[in-house]
């Protein structure tokens, strides 16, 4: 009995260990990358991937809150990234004259991107989260497509007379010296690149703090209770749709922040970048990392972004190997026998230490 209860009592501590592990992982990875950058041993291809990786990690952490913790399937995370990205680009473009320093402008752009994505999430959530079932998946899928079409047809520019906006190209006229922010299917062009890896890492840590602090609180327990048993959750006074809304909006806001950072990392960005495939890709990061497992999400995102690049030398076989690796990881992590072996390896160590 004593032995048994000690095994189970670790269940609670495990949550804390997981939390500390993910922060440690991010900080160690950051320091390692910075050292490699300083010594110049990181190839240009990898250094160009650093900011996108942090963006996708943040979006995936947000999606894991929605899919893993809240248990609602969301197929439009790229749509929220898109909202954040183009909002961030516009905000940065508008503020370019008044705030010349890159970092404060970037932070303002990220906050604006997060807020606008959260507003979109809220509006979508109002009708959908009252329903049970897969409706959120269907609606977010549609949202991703709609938002892409909107940005493909949106023309936004700024000149001496102020901000201009139109959905019809021929109606769109700027004063000489005006600046085009969004140019329909061409997307944003001539964006000032102000994103950097340090801010990306800080954003990852902020995302982790938001998600973990929410998880281990009254709201987090309510979110998980609503996922585990809807009827019982209502019977203890938890309003289901409001609770699911909190998870969904937080997830959208994190995607928006990630999108803003992503958009300001490139001089050009086309709306097609955030299509259905991107949403599915983020979902793959989450599922592979483990539902509700933030450390796993970070690792799987980094691995799955780097893997196609590392396999580039294999040329045509690249995506084939990628698929095989994906399937193998799924098989291994779902193999109970292997997992118990793996776990006993760790608990054996813990016993020896204590």
């Amino acid at each position: 009995m004593k032995e048994k209860s000690s095994v189970f009592s670790r269940f609670g501590d495990k949550k804390n260990r997981g939390r500390l592990m993910s922060f440690a992982l991010v900080i160690i990875a950051y320091i390692a990358v910075e050292v490699l950058l300083k010594t110049g041993s990181l190839g240009s291809m990898f250094s160009s991937l650093l900011v996108p990786i942090t963006c996708y990690v943040v979006a995936a952490i947000g999606l894991n809150l929605n899919v893993g913790i809240s248990g609602e399937l969301n197929l439009g995370q790229a749509g929220f990234m898109s909202v954040g990205a183009f909002c961030g680009i516009c905000v940065s473009g508008i503020l370019a004259g008044s705030i010349t320093a890159g970092i404060p402008r970037l932070i303002i752009a990220i906050i604006c991107g997060a807020v606008l994505a959260a507003v979109f999430g809220f509006l979508i959530g109002i009708p959908v989260l009252k329903l049970q079932g897969d409706y959120l998946a269907i609606v977010t899928l549609a949202f991703g497509q709609i938002i892409k079409s909107i940005f493909m047809n949106a023309y936004i520019g700024i000149d001496t007379e102020g901000l201009h906006f139109s959905f019809v190209e021929s109606n769109f006229k700027l004063q000489p010296g005006g600046k085009m922010l969004l140019n329909g299917p061409m997307g944003a062009t001539g964006t000032q690149k102000i994103a950097n890896f340090t801010i990306g890492t800080v954003l990852v840590i902020v995302a982790l703090l938001v998600v973990y602090n929410l998880m281990f609180s009254r709201s987090g327990r309510a979110i998980m209770a609503a996922r585990d048993n809807r009827i019982a959750a209502e019977s203890v006074g938890i309003p289901i749709s409001r609770t699911k809304m909190l998870a969904f909006v937080t997830s959208a806001a994190l995607a928006g922040a990630a999108g803003a950072l992503y958009g300001l990392n490139y001089s050009t960005l086309v709306p097609n970048k955030f299509d259905f495939n991107t949403s599915i890709l983020i979902l793959v990061y989450v599922v592979l990392g483990g539902l509700g497992n933030m450390t796993g999400t970070i690792i799987s995102t980094v691995v799955l972004i780097l893997l196609p690049e590392l396999l580039r030398s294999l040329q045509d076989y690249r995506m084939l190997i990628y698929a095989v690796v994906l399937i193998l990881i799924m098989l291994v992590t779902n193999n109970e026998w292997l997992m118990t072996k793996w776990k006993s390896l760790f608990s054996g160590k813990a016993k020896g230490g204590a």
Partner: protein, 262 residues
Amino acid sequence: MADNTDKNVKAPVLDVQDLGIDFGGLTAVNDLNMQVYDGEIVGLIGPNGAGKTTVFNLLTKVYKPTRGKIYFDGKDTAGKSVVDINKAGIARTFQNIRLFGNLTVLDNVKTGFHNVIPYSPITAILRLPKYFNSEKEINEKAMDLLKIMELDKYADYKASNLPYGAQRRLEIARALATNPKLLLLDEPAAGMNPQETAELMDMIRFVRDHFKIAVLLIEHDMKLVMGICERITVLNYGMMLAQGTPEEIQSNPEVIKAYLGD
């Protein structure tokens, strides 16, 4: 109301008047009248399919009644939601256990404090002092409840890993966390052995005295029902068959006929 001569000094905490519900053409509950007073343990019994759980679902607003009124604490509950009714002070357990299986035993009870000790998500994300104070209070109160239900040694177990009897007690602890005035127990002793049932009876009495609440319970175990209920309502085919003290019910020929057949 006139027949409650012995209780006429106090208004009932729960007052059900002419309650009825139809599912399509089927009348599941009809013309039900019953009262539960403060600090009372009342039993709701009847053969399988008599509509007992339907009554619980009506009281907690899972179903909307077709006819009749439910007054709780003197107020009409018409138009209230499941969440509202819990906030008003009715907590329940379920016949087929409904725990939050992936949460720990302790966290299951903590969810019960959702509206009792509230703080905003912003407070949680920013880890303001209110978060720490509230969580400390929630933790202490949840542990107290676990001790009362003799579940404290399981606090860090995953709820779905608990033995059956402990799961039933955990549901009661979670319901008590919502600070109810009336506790509805749906077959609390189902699947328990005689010794566990005896312990459960003591627990229910203790809970009633300690929290000063009324208890309405559905149960098939007659030893438990006759042992702790002060009054009993018998349902058959959705209609009230009899009402009275355990002695009256045991000697009522109508009740014996309903249970044993002609």
